[in-house]
Symmetry: C2
Subunit: 386 residues, 2 copies
Amino acid sequence: MSDSRETPEDAPQVDELTPPDRTLMGPGPSDVHPRVLRAMSTPLVGHLDPSFIEIMDEVQELMRYTFRTDNRWTIPVSGTGSASMEAAIGNLVEPGDTMLVPTNGYFGGRMASMARRAGGEVVEVDAPWGEPLDPADVEAAFNEHQPDVFGFVHAETSTGVLQPEVPELTSIAHEHDAYVIADCVTSLGGVELRVDDWDIDVAYSGPQKCLSCPPGASPLTLSDRAMDKVLDRETDPRSWYLDLSLLEGYWGDDRSYHHTAPITNVYAIREALRLVAEEGIENRWDRHLEVAGGLKAGLQDMGLEMNAPDEYWLPSLNAVKVPDGVDDAAVIDHLIEEYDLEIASGLGDLAGDIWRIGCMGYSARPKNVEYLLAALEDALAEQGQL
Amino acid sequence: MSDSRETPEDAPQVDELTPPDRTLMGPGPSDVHPRVLRAMSTPLVGHLDPSFIEIMDEVQELMRYTFRTDNRWTIPVSGTGSASMEAAIGNLVEPGDTMLVPTNGYFGGRMASMARRAGGEVVEVDAPWGEPLDPADVEAAFNEHQPDVFGFVHAETSTGVLQPEVPELTSIAHEHDAYVIADCVTSLGGVELRVDDWDIDVAYSGPQKCLSCPPGASPLTLSDRAMDKVLDRETDPRSWYLDLSLLEGYWGDDRSYHHTAPITNVYAIREALRLVAEEGIENRWDRHLEVAGGLKAGLQDMGLEMNAPDEYWLPSLNAVKVPDGVDDAAVIDHLIEEYDLEIASGLGDLAGDIWRIGCMGYSARPKNVEYLLAALEDALAEQGQL
């Protein structure tokens, strides 16, 4: 409350914002780079200001670089990662379309829910939680169901699994004239991802993972072929807010008003993507491999076991098995309370079985890894382990 | 680009963010208070961090105060104002429901589009652009169509019209067992609005108008009666991202993961709402009346005419008639180029006929008004007027 004025009696008394100083090594958000935080305190211009149009162009250019694509339709969606996910599925899937989704993690289930709400039918390609999809199973599912759209998760945040052989999956889909949507929430900017070379039609991501940007404006890219399907729809997408044919009016040549863009979040993702360009996208993938490799080695030295074998280990999200007799939640609480350090528990089929330790963006630094390993060692000692 | 590292050759070269220093007197965003900008550069905690749960509670308490409601279901929606609008309409309107929308401005048309996409039928109550709804017309529309949901715009940003007699409108709707959704995007925090006293079932707003907060997390409140309708739906809402029955799991007692909240935007709206509480909501309404009153008097002294008569003049958005022979766009360009000052042109039926001058939140200061009047006088002189 400011000193000289009197707060009215019925007004809530809420103190100044003083959140704890966390180190973020969970499944996201990751630690935000100071330059990105500073960008967020920049005074606003209007969302139709000529200077903002330039900023939008720059964000698109940087985002294309990061996705490794020349796709014209590359934009930040005005919401968190689930908004870019829904923009992808809700626009591409029309009533009557069939979408093939994976069962090997939490986010395949979310894809299914979104596809059904869009009016689509859902069919599944099976793999257990903690394993990637097998191209042979995808081929079989295509032969059985002839889906119009195929969604897969490039980097499964719930299981710490990286999907290998992406070009094989996309070529199966394209041989069947289907469109491919890739969930790249936990890969973009941290793990090798080549949208054009791998022939992915639509890819979406979130900013608060390997881009280390606060959530609020989320990357989405569509090929011309995918955008043609969206623009040729017979019925409107079921969301006005996420209707890409309307957003095209704002991000495309017209620059006409659709909704007020989250200006500050666009400033932030611009700065986060500038940091990607300065580092170089391939250097950045290498850094994640190296730093997360150090994390993995440190965990294994402590006697812990990774949930994913090395062939499909996901550097940005390390799923670690909880040893027998250890209370996973007590360890998490100890890290937060004693070390201001965030890691996360398992979700869904893996609840109680794993910890999820992020190594993303600005959090993917040797300093963070050393701190985490020391803190975790202490927490396990508290539990009578080690 | 940082000094010591070499940017890879194929990476885009984008300079540091240096937007112009605008004074924002358009239809939003308004100037953001320095304290809110500072809050946005606060390092993040996780969206499931115990400390963030406290912050969520505080935001809800402050938002209830600002809406003048005790509604439990009072939350910031993770997107800009159109997202809270779609959350309201997309959850309340079920397939088969009929929604009554107004024709007296731009945003009634948006309501209609969202209601149709939600699977509803749309019927209209007519009034010309630039005039409020007449309760007698609303009554007649209810008798003719028996709609399930009635939407109206409390403060029409496209016309500068304030809807008077709100309690009369809500009582007509309730006599017909309908639910009322109020668009309060340009009234919340600037113009008298009493959700509970006026018996409004659902109200939504945006943060970047009279709350002077960057867009990205948008106020929404629902009565228990409205939330019961949402929770009793026979089919899922068509958006997963905006499904209030799922969001209830995160903002309600469970605190379970739905999607990653836009943490920084929640920090920002908390600070913006703290400023409302410190000032006192009624004092804030008075300030808007007084400062915008000075703006209106100044415009009239210059020989300009307001588009709305005094009975339904909207202090937060002043629609001013463009005098004959004046090029409205040239004036807007002159203000931006010579004064770094944003105002806006008319939309839809009023394109070319009016300027829209905001007087919202932190922009509702005598200093801004004096600057605007001086700049506008110069711009009109350039046009050979005055």
